[in-house]
Amino acid sequence: MKIRVRFSKTGNMKYVGHLDTMRYFQKAVKRAGLDIAYTEGFSPHPVMSFALPLGVGVTSEGEYMDIKVNSSLSSAESVAALNRVMTEGFGVSDYVRLPDDSKTGMTLVFAADYTISVNEEGSFIPPKDIWEGIETKFWQDSETIEAVKKGKHGETLMDIKPLIYFIKSEYNSDNPVRSKLYMRLAAGSRNNLKPDLVIEEGLKFFGLAFDRCDFNIHRTELLNESLVPLKDLGEII
């Protein structure tokens, strides 16, 4: 039976790369005692696929992996079993059964939600007009947003405006470093936009340089084409 697991990766675990995260969960499902199905051959691996890689340095509470199991306990018991074997920074929030004919998270993912905040280890203090301007002048009012996008085939200049579904700014006047930006961006194998690039272009629009380490980037959810969170495509057992 097909299962979708939603998990978080926070704190220092943002430095664990995508491949290492996969290896981590391959072991974790065994420690948790899940009745996982294995691939055939001399090096059997748990049948497992991840919806969307998370960049090094990015935290998340909305990561997804799809697994195949031969049998399963209830969702609540399975979440508890997985959380018992997690290291600090990893946590499992959901465990749902998918219809047998459902597509993998990797195929379905269409958009990703991010929260951007200011890294207190840095020295960046966001000015109000710029922070709010990223939502209004940079995103809403621009016809096109030209940016150099790094892809598999080198760098291409393209219009990223259609890949930004929304940007919402929340400025904290009492404590500007507590300000936040919320954004929903195209994600998945067809179109994928990294939040770093959006912030970089947004700051550049106002003549500011971008330093990645000035910001915390946190992914909150992955959604399908109908903008439904991937976990809601399965049922709790």
Binding site: N12, M13, I36
Partner: protein, 622 residues
């Protein structure tokens, strides 16, 4: 969120930052304020190499079983982070608490290979601990070395406060208890070291003097004070079943070089290959009870969920309960997504049966280590593997479906002639011929693949070859050239491939392996001129080492190409490994006469290891 020594700005810049954040599965978290002893255990190389080492896992687990000790891990920051830490003045930290190493009570460094010596200095330097032992007062950690290279600690004597000679399981408890006692009554480093020097296996270099002859060799070696032992006796775990075992090993996030669970089935070796240091210093051979091993395997799987398990030993085929344990692992783990890896097995019906069950024959290869190209030279080194064994074994593999063979040899062994060098590709050619004779054309999937690898022989202390000469780098390369040229003349040359090691690295390894105290200055010079990660081809710079030696007024040839007298006092002679110098010399003479010595199970040769009253020495030889 847990503590972190490095800010985002640095972690985002360096390669594989997960090396530096700790928090791995099964790593131990304690409150440092609630322990008496903080021990930083260090493997002086990059994280993914150090994390593959079983010895560190054993000690880490054992130390942390004590409530009053908190043991944390330290590895060499890779060159990118090393540069940033120096530039930004960030001190080296231990992974678990992310606290500065400098605050610890002990810094224990494992000495697994000579080419890591400059990295020991990197660790001290980045920790802001003075490099020289006599410049460190009570405010610094006590620096202790252990591991195989500690069997000749002299080149590192000026940097370490203590060395531990032997297997870590045995006397660390006594050392910790003594330290607590001293800490309780007011810790003075000198007083502590005087007491520590009386714990068996502990060597405090500062308490000993060396006198040299005019020709530079050691004249005498003696304690500076009364009541300090003349000889340091290797400490051995007599009963392998009584020790603790790391059944909850720390599992790294990034992939370690050896990414697997390890089951140590035995320690020591009965074979007595005359070049092999491990075969002598770990005598006598001692086995673990198979029932205990089965429990360990199950528990390790529960605690790690690992996808591979491997047996660890110097020669797995010499383990008397091998079949029982291997078939247990296959039964237990098949269907649980766990691969089984079996290194150092001799080829026989049993191993072929097992291999066919656990390995993809089409992809897998079989390894033989004849070590020398002719029977004559194999007799010299006492490698009891005959040409018939090799060709017969390989033929069985070919029948079983394998077509890839790896062969390991050494060049530069004592008495080696051109015939011995040429014998290497000639033997490989015979194996290829055996393949084409054995496997009918229609069953072949292309050519067979015979890969020859040669390393250059480096004489090590406490082996019968400790008297052997080494050669100049050019001479090693000439010998590799002969192997290469001869290979090209072989009929089956297209089925063969040849790799050889770096010659300059081997020469330096030889200098450090049989070095004396004077070599310490050269190591210091080399480090100060920028040498580090010498075991990595990209960072190894022989010319810096040459200068380091000449600046120290030393000649590398003294340690390598010089003929050693039979009666010469060696820098490591003050260590007693059980195996006697008389036995080693007898073996050296037998080597020159091309005579073989039977293994411990065939006949006891009276090597001296029986003083430990354990393992194979107590077995009934019928």
């Amino acid at each position: 969120m847990s503590k972190r020594a490095l800010p985002d700005k640095i972690l985002m810049q360096v390669d594989k930052s997960a090396r530096y954040i700790g928090n791995e599965l099964n790593s131990v978290i304690k409150d440092p304020s609630e322990v008496d002893v903080r021990f930083a255990i260090c493997f002086p190389d990059v994280y993914e190499i150090g994390m593959s080492h079983l010895g560190i896992q054993i000690l880490y687990d054992m130390f942390n079983r004590r409530d009053d000790v908190y043991c944390e891990r330290v590895y060499s920051p890779w060159t990118d982070l090393d540069a940033l830490m120096r530039e930004k003045d960030i001190p080296l930290f231990a992974l678990e608490s992310q606290d500065e190493v400098r605050k610890f009570d002990f810094l224990g460094i494992t000495l697994q290979y000579e080419m890591s010596y400059t990295n020991c200095l990197q660790i001290l330097d980045l920790s802001k601990i003075p490099l020289l032992a006599n410049e460190r007062d009570e405010s610094f950690p006590l620096v202790i070395g252990g591991g195989p290279c500690a069997y000749n600690p002299e080149p590192l004597a000026m940097f370490f406060d203590m060395f531990y000679i032997g297997e870590g399981e045995v006397v660390y408890d006594r050392l910790f208890d003594l330290y607590k006692e001293h800490k309780h009554k007011g810790y003075h480093k000198k007083e502590f070291l005087l007491d520590a020097a009386n714990i068996p296996g502990i060597y405090v270099p500062e308490l000993y003097s060396v006198n040299y002859n005019n020709n530079g060799t050691v004249n005498s070696f003696f304690p500076k004070h009364d009541g300090i032992p003349f000889k340091i006796r290797k400490q051995v775990l007599t009963d392998m079943n009584s020790a603790s075992y790391p059944v909850k090993p720390v599992i790294p996030y990034i992939q370690a070089i050896q990414d697997r669970m390890t089951l140590e089935i035995l320690r020591g070796c009965i074979r007595g290959c005359r070049f092999c240091q491990a075969g002598m210093i770990y005598r006598p051979l001692r086995e673990r009870n198979p029932e205990i091993l089965k429990e360990y395997a199950k528990e390790m799987f529960r605690s790690t969920g690992h996808e591979e398990i491997s047996l660890s030993s110097l020669s797995s085929s010499d383990y008397t309960c091998l079949k029982e344990v291997v078939y247990f692992l296959i039964d237990e783990f098949q269907g649980k997504g766990v691969n089984i890896s079996l290194p150092s097995l001799r080829i026989d019906n049993f191993s072929l049966d097992v291999m066919s069950k656990i390995q993809d024959i089409k992809k897998g290869s079989i390894t033989f280590a004849p070590e020398a190209g002719t029977q004559r030279l194999r007799n010299v080194i006492n490698k009891g593997l005959t040409e018939d064994d090799i060709i017969g074994g390989a033929t069985e593999c070919f029948k079983g479906g394998w077509s890839k063979i790896k062969l390991y040899f050494m060049l530069g062994l004592p008495t080696e002639t051109e015939d011995d060098m040429k014998g290497i590709p000639i033997l490989a050619n015979e194996l290829a011929k055996a393949y084409y004779d054995t496997v009918p054309k229609e069953e072949r999937t292309g050519k067979c693949q015979i890969t020859i690898s040669t390393s250059f022989f480096v004489p090590k202390p406490f082996t019968p070859f400790q008297w052997a000469v080494m050669y100049k780098p050019e001479e090693y390369l000439r010998r590799a050239g002969i192997v290469n040229d001869t290979m090209k003349e072989q009929l089956n040359r297209k089925s063969m491939k040849y790799n050889w090691h770096e010659a300059y690295t081997s020469v330096l390894e030889g200098v450090l392996a049989r070095g004396d105290r004077k070599v310490g200055q050269a190591i210091l010079n080399a480090y100060k001129s920028g040498c580090m990660f010498d075991s990595w081809t990209d960072s190894f710079d022989f010319s810096k080492w040459e200068k380091a030696f000449s600046d120290a007024g030393l000649d590398m040839d003294f340690y390598t190409t010089r003929e050693r007298e039979e009666g010469e006092v060696f820098p490591w002679d003050f260590i007693d490994i059980g195996v006697t110098r008389e036995f080693l010399l007898k073996e050296w003479h037998k080597a020159m006469k091309e005579e073989v010595t039977p293994n411990c199970r065939q006949k006891c040769s009276g090597c001296g290891a029986a003083v430990y009253k354990g393992g194979v020495c107590l077995e009934d030889k019928g």
